[in-house]
Amino acid sequence: MSTTLGDAVRPGRSARPRRSTTELAQQAPRWQKLFATELAARIAAVLAFAVFWVVLSAVFARVPGPIAVVANLIDEFARGEVFGNFGVTLYRFGIGVVLALVAGTAVGVLMGLSQLSRAFLESPVLVGLSMPAIIWSFLTVMWFGFGDLSPIVTTFLTAVPFVVLNVFQGVRGISRDLRDMSASYGVPFTRQVRELVLPAVTGFVATGARYAVLMGWNGVLLAEWFGGSGGVGYRARYWYDANQFAGFAAWVVLFIAFIVALDRLVFDPLVTRAFRWRDAR
């Protein structure tokens, strides 16, 4: 009497031998081999979005189509507006994010290792998390005026609570066994931070960095929108005020493309490298 899985699933039918993965792969139709891949899925997503955008612009007159947006973007490049404004924003954004990462990691580690520090800092961090980026941008413009400082400080204030929270969670999650092992061998505190705490929280720092970039980018654009002299946010507002939605959308597409490229080309390899010990076989 047969006892294969086939019998259990479909009683009364004769059992069929199970096919190996090699056999299944060889017998798969050609279209499946070509299109059932990650790359194909990503391309399909972009194409689907493009089709959706075209349909939307055809239905609603106020939604600029992709061709108009791209044309405006090319015009902006020709006018020399892109590199200069992007450069200004990147400068402000870069300083704000780097400061947020350094300060956020330090505060997160401190909160994770010290009960007293955690009690002291928990409420300010919560306030920071609750404050919308738009409010920070208003405040910094009022405090610092229309220069570089306002977008830099907005970026920092918007990003830092997310870094703190992620790093804090990472430190809290460090294995008690490893901490006890370090204590039992008398490993110095600085070496514990360097070899145990920081590597353990690398993944959380990377996640915090991703949030810092996304939130910080919102912050810098808002600060430039309301009080910038130059920059991506300032230029997007120029087109918005001129009621030229294609021009406005062109800058939106540009900064989304930047964030996606940053994520794929910088964060993905960094995170992969940070976790190479986990994937080693």
Partner: protein, 253 residues
């Protein structure tokens, strides 16, 4: 080698609360010199707690405990845990260097020598995730020996391994110990293992007191299959059965 003096040691968890529980109760013993001492007892009798107090990871509630090394200074300790407790993001070699005082060429050479002793000389660049459980535990043993401790603490280091791997590691431990002759305190619930490895067995009973302190005077190296070892094991197991019956019968017995 180390000198350990434990005097009237007591440990109570959750003092001052309704959940207070006394795990070790007024125990006293000495350990001196190059000797292998096992601490044996049923689960919950305080074996691991005693080891943690000796290592300094836990504080004791009452009593005294002193540990001195060869030179009269505080004893240097190595610790082998139930699970290897290796940093997963550091290679084997860097894991061993993590607990060393420095990374001088002499220290690195010494660490490599101990890795070679446990048969892992070629695995220094491997991450712990690339090693089997037995290999990871061998790294843990090498790490403990490589700090050249006065006192080596081992908390059921083979309990999570399969029988064949554990047997091989016990034999390897005996060989390394024979070469280095440290003071070892070895916690186990396995009497057979204790007899195979030890010069002395301290038996703890529920309530955290010492039931018996047994000297094992058998020649080395010992193997579990040796009839003399087996006879002694049977005798000790019988005494532990008596202890269990006495504990079950209560204080009036």
């Amino acid at each position: 080698m180390a000198i350990i003096t434990v005097k009237n040691l007591t440990k109570t968890f959750n003092i001052g609360t309704p959940r207070a529980s006394r795990v070790l109760d007024d125990i006293s013993f000495d350990v001196r010199g190059q000797t292998f001492v096992s601490i044996v007892g049923p689960s919950g009798c305080g074996k691991s707690t005693l080891l943690n107090i000796i290592s300094g990871v836990e504080e004791h509630t009452a009593g005294d405990i002193t540990l001195t090394g060869d030179t009269g200074k505080p004893a240097r300790m190595g610790y082998v845990f139930q699970n290897p407790r290796l940093l997963p993001w550091r290679s084997v070699l860097r894991n061993m260097l993590y607990v060393q005082d420095d990374r001088s060429p002499d220290t690195v050479a010494r660490v490599r020598r101990y890795l070679d002793m446990v048969g892992l000389a070629k695995n220094g660049d491997y991450y712990p995730g690339q090693l089997s459980g037995g290999m990871q535990q061998r790294v843990g043993i090498a790490r403990a020996f490589a700090v050249e401790p006065d006192l080596l603490l081992m908390d059921e280091p083979f309990s999570h391994l399969d029988a064949i791997t554990a047997r091989g590691l016990r034999a390897q431990l005996q060989d390394i110990w024979a070469q280095s002759k440290k003071t070892v305190i070895f916690v186990t619930h396995d009497v057979v293992e204790a007899v195979e490895l030890s010069d002395r067995i301290i038996v703890l009973q529920p309530g955290g007191t010492i039931y018996e302190d047994i000297t094992i005077d058998l020649p080395r190296p010992r193997r579990a299959s040796d009839p003399t070892v087996a006879t002694l094991q049977a005798g000790i197991l019988g005494r532990l059965e008596d202890m269990k019956k006495r504990v079950a019968a209560g204080p009036a017995a």
